[in-house]
Symmetry: C2
Subunit: 594 residues, 2 copies
């Protein structure tokens, strides 16, 4: 018996060496399960992203084991300047629609827009229970209410100690720390092994609300064995360790002590820690507080009610009352730190509030670093605030001390990787270059380069009998929200909008006789966004002659198909206008027959 | 005689004290001229900006003494995203048109777009001689040739030793250093005192081409007495001293030595020093050179012909030939470092060149820091280059060492102020916050805060009998270039373009009988950029019914004015579409009567 055991151990180690060699060739590595003496598993574990990789925004990940799918987050992102008129981008959920019966639920790591913004649109298409911490559900609830979906939604509050079984998937959580309270990492035990999803995190070891990242639990998870780690990559390009949120509090207090008149602080409404530190600094300097901006009012309401934000009795005032105070008695917390043209800070910079105005000697603190793409808008606001006579504290948070990131830098990403010791690593939550840099970090801590998988949206990682493959694709993409339309903004419409936005439109309308094709009235030329007609009478007159000539010529050639007549007018008018203006307005010919 | 002199000196010093006091109150300070015993001057010196202050771009400054106006620079700037379809912004030169007979000439400090881009448009309106160094005129010439203006232009080459008399104004120059060779500062002696304009500058004390800033001459100018200094403010927010261009050369060479395959370097075509350092690094590593991008080819041609750029015999190749080389034998210099969608680097990132492609293992160096507003485009390109397998060196030049600014930082701005010791200081060339920071620097070196004047475009500083006033305004603003149209893009057109770009257009056209108002055909509804009709037949059908009903109802009410009929259809259709789609397309009703 003893001998057999020894022999079997010897065979096993031989096999191990063989398999280890294979692993390098076939991206295959033995898991603990396989060598625990059990039967090889016959069902596949699949991991996929419907959003959040090769992009910043609209995070949505899926873990499937046989007939059980759980989803992690369902975010939105804002369109770039090429998607004219589009309101929002959400993940394409075709795959989920095709597998509705398998979807067990949506787990939400935290309450930021890039993790919850797509939920109302998802629920309109597929009903499913949603799990999140109290604050996260509070923010989701506000969103569902706007869409009239709150009543029929199944929101289940959890905390970091919860465990949930979804068929073959057993889910637990661990507490992390980020720029919003109550953030979760997710542990999903599957028959094939354990999958961990970090959510967004930093390692703030002196956090404002004592929600310290639960490193002991992370170590325990890693010790038990992690098959696949999905970890966020936002700051993978940034060396070092992200400073603690508490540092911002020190700088705020210093600025509050120096300020002689009103103090405006603009920051992300969802950063409840930051709001708390503004409240604390206001308390320490005997100032009252008022709020500007809809999302600021919303978040303060939800976070106060739920106990995440402590505001001393009597400190918070309506702006009408607050306007009556002496200027050195007031702090204004406002939205718009990213330069959003309709938000409070932008409106303040153009004196666009009735009760509260920025006046000479006031202090304006931008407690945020501009997100790439927003610099120009933020700068314009800073200029206007200076012109109003304010002392403006602006620029990168690392210089002013007025902002720290909510995402871990390179050393923190390495710490997470080290704690979890995953067999396979999938960097998520980032543009390609961030995922790429995160891969380099993983390699630096000794993870086998062949075990690091970079997914695009729709790519599926299949793990079956401990064999890992990345070959399959499921439908994925950008679903555009445009007014009430979801996904109906085609390439054609966007191309037309682009064309219209640059050169405008020229409508050429003509009425002719159904009987003999004789022109009865017109062509009339009407333009919008091209040249303002009263200033360009001559141009329009000449273009009208050109359109008429083109139409008559074609009629003389006995051309009678509408399409060819329209085409003829379009070309003649288009060419003339280009020669005269070097602009190419959209030409829209309309023929009416009576 | 002696006594009289003494007494007069006593009176003078009393007067001095009195006037000094006044100075604080009235922003007035005695000049040397006044106390040199001469008669008080009766004619005014005026200084104004037509562009370049409260903005970055379209620099244009004017100095006028009585009937003599000289202009300094005439730049352009690019429109922001709100100016849809606009190609370029140039200064409004109404004031110069009104005073054509007084304009003596245009002095150009250097050949960057924000200093020369408006020249062709200026010359189309007002003829004047242009003065600049050889390279500056080479770049202006290329521009004038494109506009068919080169033959009739009066371009006079000068160097830093030149002196020119324009009626009462005596102009000389001093050599400065910037990110393009042959930069000039301008000294304009007037009967009221000396005005100095720095142009763009840094103090690169170990420049690449030995064009060291002429500090001795600057000291001499300051020693003789400067009434007003206009100094550039681009980097007034940046502490310290801008590093020497030479540092970039060291980093380039290091990267070239490490590179195993092709090397792409993307930078500003006009930075001839940078181009030279790329050539030098290519020579040191035995690589050939090819160029991608029209402006790169242009500048290399002009700069080589004029001797500013030295390229070893046989190094420069056409891209077709270069494609035949081994990958470790080639360097590609290309445009597009700011992420411009049509420039070489962007096209390379999407494999859009026939002969030259970015391949795995190639090195791509972004030798430029993204200008605020361009980050998003640059990042997209970096991502695509990584996906192609390139090693990309990107990010802020201060981190990668691959870029240094061409503008002096705070210590250099203070050095210029110290050398020039001006009585009055006007910070120029910058957004308001930069001018504001520059003011603080001037205060820090001891310039009287009341002698620092912040101008907006159109503001005039008048100096008369040593009294300084900033009260007058002349016409100034943004002239928009849109195709061949200059200045004819009105607010209405831009508003229409914005509307069209977001929600598209719905044309509602109907033909009715002139005799009895009976609807003969239509209403037909045609949309562009709103919803793609084939997918929305039902919506269009219903909207057609709504339009018809609105028209019939108005006709029944005996409404017959076209305006009211159109208004009725517009409102009915608009409201219906908003309710159904939450979009507000532009509704364009057209009534044809036959």
């Amino acid at each position: 018996m003893k001998k057999r055991k020894k022999r079997s151990a010897h065979l096993q180690s031989l096999l191990f060496l063989f398999v280890k060699k294979l692993a390098i060739l076939y991206i295959l590595k033995p898991t603990r399960t396989q060598f625990a003496g059990g039967l090889p598993l016959t069902h596949a574990l699949s991991i996929f992203a419907l959003g959040g990789v090769y992009e910043i925004g609209k995070n949505m990940y899926g873990i499937q084991y046989e007939d059980d799918i759980i989803l992690i987050d369902c975010g939105s992102k804002f369109p770039d300047e090429s998607l004219l008129g589009v309101d929002l981008i959400i993940p394409d959920v075709t795959y989920l629609l095709e597998n509705q019966d398998k979807v067990r639920g949506l787990l939400v790591t935290h309450g930021h827009e890039d993790h919850i913004g797509g939920i109302p649109y998802l629920l309109k298409q597929i009903d499913m229970p949603i799990y999140g911490t109290q604050l996260t559900l509070g923010l989701i609830g506000a969103k569902l209410k706007e869409h009239g979906l709150l009543q029929k939604s199944k929101l289940t509050p959890i905390d970091s100690k919860a465990t949930i079984r979804f068929g073959s998937l057993h889910v637990s959580f661990f507490q992390t720390n980020h720029s919003i309270p109550d953030c979760l990492g997710i542990v999903c035990e599957t028959p094939e092994g354990t999958v961990v999803h970090t959510g967004d995190f930093k390692f703030d070891l002196s956090p404002v609300n004592n929600q310290t990242p639960d490193i002991h639990r992370m170590a325990e998870i890693g010790q038990k064995g992690v098959l696949v780690l999905l970890s966020e990559s936002t700051n993978a390009e940034r060396p070092g360790f992200t400073p603690s949120e508490r540092l911002v509090g020190d700088h705020l207090l210093e600025a509050f002590r120096k300020a002689e008149k009103k103090i405006f602080v603009s920051t992300f409404a969802s950063n409840v820690y930051r709001l708390q530190q503004v409240v604390d600094a206001a308390e320490a300097t005997n100032r009252k507080l008022t709020l500007l901006g809809r999302s600021m009012v919303n978040v303060v309401k939800i976070a106060s009610e739920q106990g995440y934000l402590r505001i001393p009795e009597g400190m918070l005032m309506e702006s009408e009352e607050a306007a009556e105070l002496d200027s050195d008695e007031l702090v204004i917390l406002c939205t718009g730190s990213q330069g959003e043209p309709m938000a409070a800070l932008s409106r303040l910079s153009t004196s666009n509030y009735r009760h509260i105005k920025v006046q000479p000697g006031d202090t304006v603190i931008l407690s945020a670093t501009p997100i790439p793409g927003n610099e120009r808008n933020v700068s314009r606001i800073v200029d206007n605030l200076f012109i109003l006579g304010a002392k403006v504290i602006y620029g990168s948070g690392s210089v002013t001390g007025m902002h720290v990131s909510g995402h871990g830098s390179q050393e923190e990403l390495k710490l997470m990787l080290t704690l979890m010791k995953p067999q396979y690593f999938i960097p998520i939550h980032g543009e390609y270059r961030m995922l790429y840099q995160h891969r380099l970090l993983a390699e630096a801590i000794g993870i086998d380069p062949n075990h690091i998988l970079l997914l695009n949206i729709g790519d599926v990682v299949d793990i079956h009998n401990s064999k890992v493959k990345q070959e399959r694709k499921i439908p994925a993409g950008n679903t555009l929200v445009d007014g009430l339309g979801i996904g109906d903004v085609g390439t054609m419409i966007l191309r037309d909008r682009k064309h219209l936005s640059e050169d405008g439109i020229m409508v050429v309308v003509v009425t002719r006789s159904k009987a003999d094709g004789k022109i009865l009235t017109g062509p009339d030329l009407i333009s919008r966004g091209f040249v303002y007609a009263p200033e360009s009478e001559e141009l329009i007159e000449e273009a009208t002659r050109i359109a008429t000539a083109a139409l008559l010529r074609l009629q003389e050639e006995n051309v009678n198909q509408w399409n060819r007549l329209k085409q003829g007018m379009r070309e003649a008018v288009g060419q003339f206008l280009y020669e005269r203006t070097k602009k190419r307005p959209m030409i829209l010919p309309i023929i009416m027959e009576v």
